[in-house]
């Protein structure tokens, strides 16, 4: 039993820590349609720097998860729309509580992340 516990502890030590944000950015999220409903959707992400200037050359990705285990995440990449706005084609696959993690990567490799909680209705 001790061996089993030790092995599990060793395995747990392997888990990589979440990426540390290295860029200070302001990330906002809206979505279409609003309020969120099951089906095809789009995430509209706006990225600004600390001075409030739009960030136009970032790589933006989004990952949506339901708050419970077992559902496949919805992944999407942002398409630049100009003026710091990015559009992510998306799909809400079930009604209920969701969280969306938006990751913004700047050309110099600096990363910023923001989580948004929302409820999707039928």
């Amino acid at each position: 039993m001790l061996v089993a516990l030790l092995v599990a502890l060793l395995l747990a030590g392997c888990r990589q820590p979440p990426p540390t944000p290295t860029a200070a950015l302001q990330i906002d999220l809206t979505y279409e349609p609003a309020p969120a409903r099951v089906g095809q959707a789009a995430l509209l992400i706006t990225v600004r720097d600390t001075a409030g200037q739009p960030v136009t050359d970032a790589k933006v990705s989004a990952r949506g998860d339901m708050s419970h285990a077992g559902m496949a995440p919805v992944l999407g990449e942002g398409e630049p729309q100009g003026n710091g706005r990015y559009r992510v084609p998306f799909e809400w696959t079930m009604s209920g509580d969701w969280f969306v993690d938006v990751t913004v990567t700047l050309p110099d490799g600096a990363v910023a992340q923001q989580r948004f909680d929302l409820t999707v209705s039928r």
Binding site: S67, H68, A69, A72, F99, D117
Partner: protein, 487 residues
């Protein structure tokens, strides 16, 4: 009337490799250790890993994959989870510490406590939204180990498994459908066996030997330090007529000095058709009926009407959510099945004029086995949805646990919802038809020419349950009330 013995089919323990592993002295431990390792990983990830339920082993494994695999194993093989259950390892430790002394209180020796613990687990699951909390799930696993150790240390008779464990209780009830059962090969050998090692165990500090005079002649039986324990639940294999109490630990097989116990293949659900295979007690009857109803309540709790009901209760001034859930599960999972079973039994008596010949208890007990297939169908339909909707997501979760990047785009693929829906319908309808078959057999056995009116109330009750579950499965699922866990 003595229950008919189980007909022996092929002995699974004679299969190559598998049979040898299962009969091996350390066979159960060999099955338990991997699951102990899994349990340890769940606890560690639950406490130390990310608190996002879809990305943590503590929530993904028990609430999605384990449940799906458990129902599959019950249907295709037997009570494999109890066989490999890591929670019973503390029993061995407790035995080593010589703490096993007392018998479990007589009043609690039945299925009542198991029914309460089962309802309690579902209630805790709902109140604390365990599906969304790796941390609380990890605490639940720790609490499970602690409860198993304390009860096994304090009481003999594997009290935790036999009287308390909610997971085991679920497995017990639905292993009655399984195609395998512990059975003796020759009852005369058991009658001639002086040691009854299947219950008492063959382990002794000092070696000794005796000679049993078996039907085919005298045979030596040895006990000693290399022996094994007997049935922890004190079940005597020649008297076993059901899987309802058996953990499939196979200790009886290993301890038997005459190789007279088999893990026998049988007709799936065969015991449900045998009169008196189950004890005719209210606790057994209500457990099986209630578990089918709880299956409906559990599905209900994931659909919009649940939230509408809670809103209505709140508008009536009944706003406390735990109390609302207690009311929903108490009424739907306990009062309603008890009332429905009593009403059906009473109606059956009235329609067949058998109230003098058959008590309510006997009538309800005769039809209780009919609720096992439908109950299983409801649970299997529910769990198969969660299991199949994104079955491969376990892989990236494990990858991340092991320090690798999770390949979510590759493995986070949703299952075909139409195919899952058809499977759910098949499970539900199959369970219903199987239940109806068992109920009509019970009706013919009990009422002969009055079988049809005697069957009617039970058939209607089964139909209502099936329709309720079918309706709920057509509703969109939604999981709410979990925001507070996300911070």
């Amino acid at each position: 009337m003595t229950p008919r013995p189980v007909l022996i089919g092929r002995d699974v323990l004679r299969l190559p490799l598998v049979g040898r592993l299962l009969r091996w002295r350390w066979g159960r431990l060999a099955l338990q250790l991997p699951l102990l390792l899994v349990a340890a990983a769940l606890v560690i990830d639950g406490f130390a890993g990310p608190q996002d339920a879809p990305r943590n082993l503590a929530t993904v494994v028990p609430w999605v994959h384990f449940r799906g695999l458990a129902v599959l194993a019950l249907l295709l093989a037997g009570n494999l989870f109890c066989m490999a259950c890591p929670f019973t390892l503390p029993r061995t430790l407790a035995r080593g510490l010589s703490l096993r002394r007392r018998r479990f209180p007589r009043r609690l020796r039945g299925k009542w406590l198991a029914l309460v613990s089962l309802l309690g687990l579902f209630l805790v699951y709902e109140i604390f939204s365990l599906w969304a909390s790796p941390l609380l799930t990890a605490w639940l696993i720790v609490a499970y180990f602690a409860a198993a150790f304390i009860l096994e240390a304090w009481f003999g008779e594997s009290a935790f498994c036999k009287y308390v464990c909610p997971l085991g209780t679920f497995n017990f009830v639905y292993s009655t459908l399984s195609p395998t059962q512990i059975a003796v090969k020759d009852r005369a050998v058991c009658a001639a066996c002086a040691g009854k090692e299947c219950v008492r165990g063959s382990y002794r500090r000092l070696p000794n030997a005796r000679v049993d005079v078996l039907p085919d002649g005298p045979r030596e039986a040895r006990q000693g330090p290399s022996g094994t324990p007997g049935c922890g639940l004190l079940l005597f294999p020649p008297q076993l007529t059901t899987n309802l109490d058996c953990t499939f630990c196979l200790d009886c097989v290993r301890a038997c000095p005459h190789d007279n116990i088999a893990l026998a293949a049988r007709r799936p659900g065969g015991e449900l058709l045998r009169p008196r295979a189950w004890r005719q007690r209210w606790d057994v009857t209500l457990l099986v009926v209630a578990l089918a109803f709880i299956g409906v309540v559990s599905a209900f709790s994931m659909t919009p009407p649940r939230y509408e009901l809670q809103s209505s209760l709140s508008r009536l001034g009944f706003a406390d959510e735990p109390l609302q859930l207690l009311a929903i599960f108490g009424v739907g999972g306990l009062l309603l099945p008890a009332g429905a079973a009593l009403l059906a039994a009473r109606l059956g008596q009235a329609l067949t004029r058998t109230s003098r010949r058959l008590s309510l208890r006997q009538t309800a007990a005769a039809f209780a086995p009919a609720f096992a297939p439908l109950g299983f169908g409801i649970w299997a339909a529910h769990y198969s949805f969660h299991f199949l909707v994104a079955p491969l997501t376990l892989i990236p979760v494990v990858q991340e646990f092991l320090g690798q990047p999770g390949e979510w785009a590759r493995f986070g693929v949703m299952g075909d919802l139409t195919a899952i829906g058809l499977l759910q319908a098949a499970l539900l309808l199959g369970g219903f038809l199987w239940s109806l078959w068992i109920a009509q057999r019970a009706a013919f056995r009990l009422y002969r020419r009055d079988a049809l009116p005697g069957l009617l109330p039970w058939a209607l009750l089964l139909l209502a349950l099936m329709l309720a579950a079918g309706y709920l499965f057509t509703l969109p699922m939604e999981m709410r009330g979990t925001d507070f866990l996300l911070g």
